[in-house]
């Protein structure tokens, strides 16, 4: 997807952006301000007007993007223009300032503009990098398939656990009831876990349980020394036989839990990557709205105190 807007119509908008920047720089170099370069010379007003129109037009992209009636190639063209002209805005607006900055609403507008553009650059970086990682993490599965498989593994685990022991069942049930994928804002971004993961404690519990069982089956291969001992051994062998059956089931359960765990990790990573693709917009969009407000104040205040 990223290539299509980067290369849209043989880099048409990149060329436009370079031309705009070059013309601005050339005019700035050629222009001799009467006192000092700033936004108040004729070139300052010109660059300021171009920059203001660009900002409003670029912000309009947010509304334009939601117009799904237009074709995707049109959206791609708009995005291409949005990206390249947005970058050219750094040149035009900086030259408009004449490199005069201060603690005032004018520099605030400039600063917000830089934040918007830098967050946009981060967005481009994400769009270039993340889709590849997303695909390799999914290993050909869809999110739906991953969740279906988790559900199947849950069912299998519950079935196996019920056949082993009510304690085991309870532990597995707890890990099933708390799915660990429904994540908060922060968890989505960090792929983090909320408190103790019941799956981890379930795994730990199962390992301890397995050790106990293995100890119990050690009698199986021993030889009886007396009749009483033989009777005892018969009983413990019968019991150990039952325990051995449990060991197999436990092994299967542990494998199931292990598979679920790795699948859950990938699902969380999937959620995280998707979240990262959206995160930068939480800066880009609201700050660009604040920029529009600051731009409006910048223009009004300059003429209010002309």
């Amino acid at each position: 997807m990223h290539e299509s807007f980067f290369r849209y119509q043989n880099f048409f908008w990149l060329k436009v952006a370079i031309a705009l920047s070059a013309v601005s720089i050339a005019l700035y170099a050629w222009h001799t301000p009467s006192v000092v370069a700033n936004g108040g010379t004729w070139l300052g007003y010109t660059l300021g007007t171009v920059a203001a129109v660009l900002i409003v037009w670029l912000a309009w992209f947010g509304a334009r993007k939601r117009d799904y009636s237009s074709s995707s190639s049109k959206i791609s063209g708009w995005l291409s223009a949005h990206v390249y002209l947005g970058l050219a805005l750094i040149v035009v607006a900086t030259l408009h300032t004449g490199f005069q900055f201060g603690w005032n609403v004018h520099t605030l507008a400039y600063g917000l503009m830089i934040v918007v553009i830098v967050s946009g650059m981060y967005g481009i970086y994400l769009y270039a990098m993340l889709p590849g990682r997303l695909a390799s993490n999914r290993q050909g599965m869809t999110r739906e398939q991953m969740l279906d498989e988790i559900r199947d593994l849950d069912e299998t685990a519950l079935g196996l656990a019920d056949q082993i022991d009510s304690r085991v069942h309870e532990v597995i049930l707890r890990s099933v009831e708390k799915p660990g994928v429904m994540l908060s804002f922060w968890q989505q971004l960090t792929a983090g876990k909320l408190g103790k993961d019941p799956l981890d404690s379930a795994e730990r519990f199962l390992r301890g349980y397995q050790n106990d069982l293995v100890d119990a089956t050690l009698f199986l291969d021993a030889q009886p020394q007396s009749g009483a001992q033989a009777t005892m051994m018969y009983i413990s062998n019968v019991m150990a036989g039952m325990e051995a059956e449990k060991v197999d089931k436990l092994r299967a359960l542990m494998e199931t839990v292990g598979r679920k765990k790795s699948l859950l990790k990938r699902t969380r990573r999937d959620v995280q990557l998707k979240a990262l693709l959206q995160l930068w917009l939480f800066f880009h969009v609201p700050v660009s709205m604040a920029l529009l407000a600051a731009l409006l104040i910048h223009i009004i205040s300059v003429f209010l105190y002309w």
Partner: protein, 618 residues
């Protein structure tokens, strides 16, 4: 306690089957075990999953015994109160407490399977499909908050502060609060710092550019640029104070130094003013600037006026000094005598030369420019030549041979005569004058206590009177005064000798300023060339513009010193003050302004600080 348990089963085709069972015991057990009071056939329930107890006041509590917990009214927990209409969910099942219809029971529970595994999948997937946007802050709300903050802090609050002075003062006085100074586009120039907090000092009307009146309110005594009648020149008419004086650029920008603003008019000022101006066109110091014009004091109808003469017109370049002086004579390489002796250093005015005496006595001194031309403290202007300071050391005003202590006063013919009279009367009355032509009474020695008779006294005074006249004639016409001054004699005049005033100009070029201080690294003769060749004191030895152009050029020149108009010329050189002109403008209708009657056009008089008028010679 006695518990009624109603198991509800909904048929697919519709209709509900209610199966009621009873239970009696202290604790109501819930789970997958077949011996539980409330049996839940679901793998997601533990054998013994939860219990319901009754408290002392008859209230009920539910407690989970399984690690996976229970959901009370949809909230996961381990225990809680179990009130009427509360719901407990375990796995796909729900246990509801409903009102008891039968008095025999303490507690009535409804048990129903509310979802299947398939339903559960859907629910979980819906939860898992959660996007960042769904759980994060709402972008729209976040945007509006930011927009409101920016608008409120940086526009509405400062605006309110402007409208309500009390609030405005608070905003300005508390650091960090946004007053209208957040709209400040840049630091003020240092001269205006003291009203930096009060924007309305200059910005008097909203959405209107700073008007000249705001500047004139303080700068009333600043001179205007030109006479009002040149208001007809569009460029001048359109010019505002702020056209040149750009504020909010810190300390660098209050005065526009760029030539374009001057040159817009001055490159074709003649045409713009229909030849009314006496100024010449100029657009660039290096390539398009007229030759300098010097202002020579000139006597016209007994009034000293200034005559402007271009340095090109060498024939007219003579001062009307009424004084004899020769730079060549003073700047002899071998030096001049420290004491001028009219007999020894015979004056030959035709050659305008002071011959050096033949004797090689050591009282000679080699003079240089600074012996006569001294500067004021700032080395901006040369001080006027002053007799006592610059001439008197060599040019003694002695009149009585053998009595060199006696010197005549300088600068007033009457005082000279009075001094001579007093001197010779005193001498005559004292007696013992060594002058064979003097009467006896003047020559004889007085005895102590001797008084002259009246005839003797009159004879002595008559001699003194004759002597005074003779000596005056000598010093005025031949020796002392005449050395330098052009003394006029009229036998019927009272006194008969008159010396025209020496007319030294205060400024040679009053419309420009020049600082010798900035040129101290250059020798005098590098600019004032061939001074030691000048034999006539009336020669004007100022350098031509070409000399300046050796080093200086227009502002765009990269090889020489780029020089702007304002490096030499002031802007506020008009005759009228800005304040006066503003009043005149308000009083005079615009059409009359264009044909104003003020005749002095270039404000030169004012710059001269001299009552004499300025005459153009071109």
């Amino acid at each position: 306690m006695r518990v009624q348990i109603i198991t509800i089963k909904r048929r697919k085709k519709g209709g509900v089957v209610r199966k009621t069972s009873e239970y009696a015991g202290d604790v109501v057990t819930i789970g997958r075990g077949t011996d539980e009071a409330v049996f839940i056939p679901d793998l997601r329930a533990a054998y013994h999953h939860a219990e319901i107890h009754q408290g002392k006041q008859g209230e009920f509590f539910v407690q989970s015994l399984a690690l996976s917990g229970i959901r009370i009214n949809g909230v996961s927990s381990d225990q809680g109160e179990f009130n009427l209409t509360d719901r407990i969910a375990i796995g796909h099942w729900e246990i509801r407490r409903v009102a008891c219809e039968d008095n025999r029971y303490d507690l009535t529970l409804e048990l129903e399977q509310i979802s299947s595994d398939a339903d559960h999948d859907v629910a979980v997937k819906q939860q898992i499909k959660t996007t960042l946007a769904a759980v994060g802050p709402d972008k729209r709300c976040w945007s509006w908050m930011l927009v409101a903050s920016v608008l409120g802090l940086f526009f509405i609050l400062p605006l309110l502060g402007k409208a309500i002075p009390g609030l405005g003062n608070v905003l300005k006085s508390v650091p960090g609060l946004p007053s209208d100074s957040v709209w400040n586009t840049g630091e003020l120039s240092p001269a205006h710092h003291f009203f930096r907090e009060d924007c309305s000092t200059c910005h008097q009307s909203a959405f209107i550019r700073v008007e000249d009146q705001a500047c004139i309110d303080c700068h009333q005594n600043t001179h205007a640029h030109a006479d009002l009648k040149f208001d007809a020149v569009d460029e001048l008419n359109a010019a505002r104070c702020a056209s040149c004086h750009e504020e909010h650029n810190g300390s660098i920008g209050l005065v526009m130094r760029h030539d374009s603003f001057c040159v817009d008019c001055h490159r074709h000022l003649k045409q713009l003013t229909n030849d009314e101006t006496k100024l010449l066109n100029a657009s660039d110091f290096g390539s398009d600037h007229p030759e300098f014009r010097v202002s020579i004091p000139h006597l016209k109808n007994d009034q000293v006026v200034l005559k402007r003469v271009s340095l090109e017109h060498k024939d007219q370049l003579k001062e009307e000094l009424s004084i004899y002086n020769s730079h060549k004579a003073h700047l002899k390489p071998e030096g001049v005598h420290q004491r001028f002796d009219p007999d020894r250093d015979k004056l030959d005015r035709d050659k305008s030369e002071l011959p050096v005496a033949q004797d090689q006595s050591s009282d000679r001194v080699i003079m240089d420019c600074a012996d006569c031309h001294t500067f004021d403290r700032g080395r901006v202007a040369t001080k006027q030549i002053n007799f006592q300071q610059h001439c008197n050391a060599c040019h003694r005003l002695d009149f009585e041979p053998g009595d060199e202590q006696q010197e005549l006063p300088h600068g007033d013919v009457g005082k000279v005569l009075y001094y001579l009279q007093q001197f010779y009367q005193n001498k005559a009355l004292k007696g013992l004058v060594e002058d064979s032509r003097a009467p006896l009474v003047v020559r004889t020695r007085r005895r102590p206590g001797q008084r002259l008779s009246e005839p003797e006294r009159l004879e002595a005074l008559a001699w003194a009177e004759r002597k005074t006249r003779d000596v005056a004639m000598e010093v005025f016409m031949f020796r002392v005064c005449k050395t330098c001054h052009d003394v006029q004699y009229a036998s019927n005049g009272k006194p008969p000798w008159t010396i025209p005033p020496v007319r030294l100009p205060e400024h040679w070029m009053p419309l420009a300023h020049f600082s010798h201080q900035k040129h101290v690294t250059v020798a005098c003769e590098d600019c004032h060339q061939n001074v030691d060749e000048s034999e006539d004191g009336a020669d004007i030895l100022l350098p031509s513009i070409k000399v300046c152009q050796d080093c200086h050029a227009g502002e765009d020149d990269r090889r020489r010193l780029a020089s702007n108009c304002v490096d030499c010329h002031g802007f506020h050189v008009g005759e009228q003050l800005l304040g006066e002109q503003q009043q005149l403008k308000q009083q005079t209708p615009p059409e009359v302004k264009q044909t104003g009657t003020v005749s002095k056009i270039d404000g030169a008089d004012n710059a001269l600080n001299n009552p004499a008028s300025l005459e153009g010679s071109e």
